[in-house]
């Protein structure tokens, strides 16, 4: 059970306010939650466990602030389309928008669709004392800030990539969890026995969805898909090596049909107890420990991404929550965002297994950790992954085209394509699209 309750949250806020009034600290803690009582705001959420948690408790926000909330959850792809179309119209029907950083960051920044929250964060009437930039992880700040350093959203939920591994299968073969890419390949091949129906490794093969698998490897070779100067590195020697690794793992150690696997098929395969390792986001863990769905309850190891030849990195993705620049209720909308990323809501999110907050103070809070249903190894792995996190996708506007084009090349590798030729072809295809997007 959660130790952080609404009562303690409200009490701590009041205590912090009282403390501020005493003159012992700046009046930073003195948030006037009721200042915008009676305001109505619209909230556009992605249908997900994150959206569910916010919607479930939004009455508490109204009780706290007097602000009326009209929220809606839409499936991810449709929510992105709806948000873009409405924001482009100049008069969106919502004040608060839930954004997928790894897909929409650059697009939203270029189009100036989000309000700058920097001044709000410095305003003691609006911002609770514990909500500081330094309490967000580095990846969260990278996502939330634009190149000018303005805070355009509040980091909400992070998804680090980790390796789920089946302890039973490892024990049967007397294998240990791999520490390097090289070991991962050897272990995966040692675990694979098609006659027995066991496979060493599974990860996404479906185009678009498969790109984070490849970038997880690429980061281990010490480079990003796009360098600091905006040059594509997707046909560099490191990128080709990462593609070879992807091809080898998914053709020699993965189940049949992996070219069409998204995360759900990978998860289904892993849940059956026939796959040694599964590389994917930390947010997919709860079903693994659910006895109604899993044959491997209590047998799952949660591993930090092994080291690559040049670096150890966990590809990181995430979503944030921001205020639209077209909103007429920016302060009220900001209060909602602040509530959404608060310790109380972050704890609820984590404890429900719906997501991982970007705020290390929540992850390291002993009381919060007590209420987490997942094994301690999972949360330890989350914390360790946070320490080596790197953005899993380039911050470019046509990120969906990037994922599609590179993803098609990666899928072709599973049919026997040549890594160097496929990566070169994909890079040539994407280059003009990237150039066009930067000119637009």
């Amino acid at each position: 059970m959660s130790a952080v309750t609404r009562r303690t949250f409200l009490a701590s806020t009041a205590a912090a306010a009282a403390y501020g009034l005493s003159g012992a600290t700046p009046a930073f803690a003195d948030v006037n939650w009721k200042k915008y009582a009676g305001t109505k705001i619209g909230v556009n959420l992605v249908k997900s466990p994150r959206g569910e948690v916010l919607q479930k408790f939004e009455k508490e926000f109204t009780d706290l602030t007097g602000i009326q909330v009209s929220s809606e959850q839409t499936p991810e792809q449709q929510q992105r389309q709806k948000a873009v179309i409405e924001l482009n119209s100049g008069s969106p029907s919502f004040d608060v928008v839930h954004i997928s950083y790894h897909v929409q960051k650059r697009q939203f920044e270029k189009a100036n669709w989000l309000a700058d929250l920097s001044a709000f964060m410095k305003n003691p009437e609006l911002t609770e004392a514990t909500l500081t930039e330094s309490d967000f992880s580095q990846a969260g700040l990278l996502y939330a800030k634009n190149p000018q350093g303005q805070m355009l959203s509040l980091p909400f939920s992070v998804d680090y990539w980790m390796v789920y591994w089946n302890k039973d299968l490892f024990a049967k073969k007397g294998l240990a969890y791999p520490q390097t890419f090289e070991e991962m390949v050897k272990v995966a091949e040692a675990l694979t026995d098609p006659k027995e129906g066991t496979y060493g490794f599974v990860a996404r093969g479906l185009k678009n969805a498969n790109v984070p698998v490849w970038t997880s490897f690429l980061l281990g070779y010490g480079i990003d898909p796009v360098d600091a100067n905006g040059n594509l590195m997707t046909d560099s020697p490191e990128a080709i090596e990462a593609a070879k690794l992807y091809q080898r793992l998914l053709t020699k150690s993965a189940p049949q049909g992996v070219a069409g696997f998204n995360w759900s098929e990978c998860q289904s395969a892993f849940l059956q107890g026939k796959v040694g390792m599964w590389l994917d986001g930390v947010g997919f863990a709860p079903p693994l420990e659910d006895p109604d769905r899993s044959r491997i309850v209590g047998k799952v190891g949660y591993g930090v991404m092994p080291k690559g030849p040049k670096a150890q990195a966990s590809a990181t993705f995430g979503d944030g929550i921001g205020v639209t620049s077209a909103s007429k209720n920016k302060e009220a909308a900001y209060l909602y965002c602040q509530w959404a990323v608060s310790k109380l809501m972050g704890a609820r999110l984590l404890q429900a297994g719906g997501g991982v907050p970007f705020r290390p103070s929540i992850l390291s809070d002993a009381e919060v950790r007590k209420g987490v249903k997942m094994p301690p190894a999972w949360i330890d792995s989350v914390v360790e992954s946070g320490k080596i996190s790197k953005l899993g996708l380039p911050v470019v506007q046509p990120v969906t085209e990037f994922r599609d084009i590179i993803g098609i090349g990666l899928t072709n590798l599973l049919g026997g394509g040549d890594p160097a030729a496929e990566m070169k072809k994909a890079t040539e295809q994407f280059k003009p699209i990237l150039e066009r997007s930067e000119k637009a």
């Binding site: 482009n88 185009k207 069409g260």
Partner: protein, 312 residues
Amino acid sequence: MSTIAEPQLTSVTEAAPATGARPPSTYWPFVVPAVAVVGSVIVFPWAFTVWMSLHEWTVGGARRFAGLSNYLRLATDERFLTSVWQTLIYTVLAVVLPLIFGTLAALIFNSKVPLRGILRGIFVMPMMATPVAIALVWTMMFHPQLGVLNYLLSLVGIGPQAWVFSPSTVIPSLVLVETWQWTPLVMLIVLGGLAAIPTEPYESAAIDGATVFQRFRYITLPMIAPFLMVAVIIRTIDALKSFDIIYAITQGGPGTASETINLYLYSVAFAYYDVGYGSAIAVVFFGLVIALSLLMLHLRQRTKWTDIQGGA
């Protein structure tokens, strides 16, 4: 039918104003609403789509006139050309297979088989199901390790197949779903044709010693040909614009192995937000649909309705 229609046509012709004459003032109030509706929901969207296709225009970015460059880009866009080819393959298979199986089913259900009514009711059920629900069920059935299809194959000694999870088998597998769902529609159309065929020609043929195949080839087939044409036209239009089942099962994958024009158009317009280029694809797709429709109508006109009542 023609004997009933002729007097009506004559009276309408007599009531119509002479060519070039100004219509009466009461004419416009009846016409304007229809013109306004057609103009706003058909003509304007199409004119706007054509106009957008002449611009380089991404949502959130500036709009620039680009002339025909979007169309020229299509000519060298390997992914688009592949999607055209895949659309044609998918359409041909998704028309021909339901046509064959639907006709066979109609012939079976036209004969007096036991429990015909119940069986016919069960047979048409796939047609009534929601495409996305069908897609989700079939996705589970296709799963290489957990799906029931590979289990059934294993019972007869056939090894596991990758179905929609392999580029080489994805289109036939999707056509399997399409065939399963739409064979009943063809069956119903053909059954209507079979019900209208008189028994006399069959009796004459039997007296002349015609075989079952000859009776089908020279009596049944010519008489149901117009019904088959109707089925072909409906199925072709339906298969060409097929989106839901493909998107829900494969999203056009693996890679782009099942990406039809519709899916590519969706990606360009609603995932890449490149509305200018997406509009150009829509215009070309529209042209393709029009061309195929004209071909169908031409074939339809060539397939004359056989006067089954013997020219009354």
